[in-house]
Amino acid sequence: METSGVSNPVTAVLLNFRGYDTLLEMAVLLVALLGVWSLGSAAVYRRSNPEPVLLSLVGVLVPMLLLMAGYLLWVGADAPGGAFQAGSVLAAAGILMLLACKRPPVQLLGWSLRLVLVLGLGAFIAVGVSLLSASGMFLQYPPGLAGALILFIEAAATLSIGVTLAALFLGGRLDPDA
């Protein structure tokens, strides 16, 4: 426990002792999104006229949700919290913003969205592979660096989880002509 780099036992289990589970879970999220995207474009996501109540609520809630996601991510090292909690709060902010959009945000498409989607899994694998080449063990953190590496992976995973869940909410690919 002392060598895990974090003092919250659940985070230690998730990111250190059973890192493989979390790594594959990020892959499961991506595969689910691929499955949803392969079913077609988000045709059900129609153009809407958001109510003024929703718009002002979004203006108040989204900054608070972003702040809360950052707090949950940081506090995950030694209290309940972490990447998944922060990611789902981030997704809630994203869904609120999607609901307040008049039309699908097609300008968000392209490589930047895909890059954020694979960021979490990519950072996890990159850390694992670099540790494999340095010490010969996949995802075996050196005790001095464990805390920083876990925070790095968690920050990347939070972004990816939030964006993936918000993309799943749309229920399909966002096509430029949709």
Partner: protein, 102 residues
């Protein structure tokens, strides 16, 4: 009977309720909801059994597994809902082929 056992039994009850709803309802949305209720029952059993030693701090491994499970359940539900919308767009009904009225 201590509270841990009560939580675990409530989890078993939720699972049974979900299984019953999964079998008796034909509508696909109700089936997806039923599977989610069953999953919540499993999570409740796992979390409560993680704290079954009185006085000691709860075992973190089941808790971490439940967090993993919740995320997987959410993504599987999203995929199932997208599939259901696709079935509805293709056939006009939200039923499995065996349940369809000809």
């Amino acid at each position: 009977m201590n509270s841990i056992l009560l939580y675990a039994l409530a989890g078993v009850g939720l699972f049974t309720l979900g299984l019953y709803a999964l079998i008796v309802h034909a509508h696909l949305l109700r089936k997806i909801l039923a599977i989610n209720v069953m999953g919540s029952g499993v999570f409740l059993v796992l979390v409560s059994l993680g704290g079954r030693t009185p006085g000691a701090s709860p075992d973190p491994v089941p808790h971490a597994m439940v967090i993993t499970g919740i995320v997987v359940a959410v993504s599987a539900t999203a995929l199932a809902l997208a599939l259901m919308l696709r079935v509805q767009a293709k056939t006009g009904q939200t039923l499995l082929p065996e349940e369809r009225l000809e």
